[in-house]
């Protein structure tokens, strides 16, 4: 009976979502995360247009060329993307915001005190939950944004904001050339990434820690990082 109930709940979820249920994709058990669905390319954190807010952005699966590669790129339902926020300066997360894909939607949980810190996580379904439809990957696609609980959410392909002459850097490091060009070439130009963006009131993250950043010793500061974690 219990099983029937669970299956019914899933069926209702599908009806509400109006989408076919997507079974998660293949696992690639590479020794390194490079090129996998859990590969984080970069992390950004900055004050929003509204200075009461912070914006957190995690980019994954870098170097996606325009066209079908970007249009077909997908977040992995088995990969949890977790924003970690240390508010006390001890390098241990006090709050997390978790995001994970189900169907055509990205779900968000938190900010919340995690059930446990460290290398293993469970999804904090007890926390404030939000979601946003995953945006399209076509060229110049509009961003679908959701706004709820004073937070904003986005998930989908975007232009990779990172810029660097990585090819020239690699040539320098490997000894092929001795220095950079005055006019460099952006290795990340015209490449896309899968982005997850959150705008959140600073008030939801607490006061921060004075002294965490020795170069701005009077500024209350959070220490932040982003992790990807795969379902076991």
């Amino acid at each position: 009976m219990k099983k029937t109930h669970i299956v019914s709940i899933v069926a209702i979820g599908l009806l509400i979502a109006g989408t076919p249920f997507l079974i998660s994709g293949d696992h690639i058990d590479a020794p390194s995360v490079t090129g996998t669905t859990s590969d984080i390319s970069s992390f950004y954190a900055f004050e929003g247009e509204n200075s009461n807010n912070l914006v957190l952005i995690a980019n994954l699966q870098g170097f996606l060329p325009s066209g079908t590669a970007t249009e077909n790129a997908e977040f992995d339902e088995d990969v949890l993307v977790e924003f970690n926020i240390d508010t006390t300066g001890d390098l241990v997360e006090d709050l997390v915001i978790q995001s994970i894909k189900r169907g055509d939607t990205m779900y968000f949980f938190g900010p919340t005190v995690p059930a446990s810190t460290g290398l293993q996580s469970e999804i904090a379904t007890f926390a404030t939950a939000n979601k946003v439809a995953i945006s399209e990957g076509t060229t110049d696609a509009e961003a679908i944004v959701s706004e709820n609980n004073n937070m904003k959410f986005f998930a989908g392909p975007r232009d990779d904001p990172f810029f660097f002459d990585l090819n020239r850097y690699n040539a320098i490091v490997s000894g092929q050339v001795s220095d950079f060009n005055v006019e460099g070439e952006d290795t990340f130009a015209e490449k896309n990434v899968l982005s997850i963006a959150i705008e959140i009131p600073k008030s939801m993250l607490g006061a921060g820690s004075v002294g965490a950043n020795p170069f701005e010793p009077t500024t209350p500061t959070y220490s932040m990082w982003v992790e990807t974690k795969r379902k076991q």
Binding site: T4, V7, V79, D159, D165, F215, T228
Partner: protein, 222 residues
């Protein structure tokens, strides 16, 4: 055949329950709230679940399965640390180490990488932040991004240092300056003048597409 009947029964049950929950919404606390409006409202415990009208949240919003344990595969704090300082031999270990343990485990390897990138780092007098090699690498080996709770958030803008990372910050030039430029930002080493190689800038100072002024700030895909 029996299985098909069983699945059909489940589907009809599902439809009936949806219908039921819609009906129930006519007399609830918040007349605006429904169990399928995609937000947490009324007396719901999560998005469209829990409370007096919607299905329970045990499996997360909308009854979707969020159960299980998730184990770490990658982590990023500051930009470019993994490109520049965390080389192949210990990259996987670095990615699966919690920040509070990174310093003890990886400072020595990262110091060797700094030494091989710029053998003159110490001779030149450290970096523009006043750091000798050990202080510089000890900071980077705790791979977290400092983010100011108030005021300017920037990786480096000439006056404010390491208070966040904006989309347009030229983080690589700042890293290169720290590694190759020596202690004086006004008369740096390795600036391409005279006999010196150009190592303090990669010659790319901005993204190839302008960013948006409002959320999500990121430019649309190519």
């Amino acid at each position: 055949m029996k299985k098909i009947l069983y699945i059909s029964f489940l589907f009809i049950t599902a439809l009936a329950l949806v219908q039921c929950s819609e009906d129930d919404n006519n007399n609830i606390i918040d007349p605006e709230a429904t169990c399928e409006d995609g937000i947490q409202n009324g007396d719901e415990d999560g998005i469209d679940c829990g409370g007096s009208n919607c299905l329970p949240c045990e499996q997360g919003p909308e009854g979707i399965d969020f159960s299980g344990t998730y184990a770490q595969e990658d982590q990023v704090g500051r930009p470019a640390v993994s490109i520049v300082f965390v080389t192949e031999g210990f990259r996987d270990d670095f990615n699966t180490t919690i920040p509070s343990e990174m310093n003890a485990l990886f400072t020595d390897d990262m110091l060797m990488n700094l030494e091989s990138l710029n053998p003159d780092y110490t001779t030149n007098g450290g970096n523009v932040l006043g750091q000798g090699a050990t202080d510089f690498i000890s900071m980077l080996s705790n791979d977290v991004l400092w983010v100011a709770q108030n005021g300017s958030t920037t990786f480096f803008d000439g006056t404010t240092t390491l208070t966040g990372r904006k989309l347009g910050d030229d983080v690589m030039d700042f890293h290169l300056m720290l590694i190759f430029g020596g202690p004086d930002i006004n008369t740096p080493f390795n600036d391409g003048s005279g006999e010196q190689p150009l190592l303090i800038s990669d010659g790319v100072s901005e993204n190839d597409k302008p960013f948006l002024e409002s959320f999500p700030y990121l430019a649309a895909p190519f």
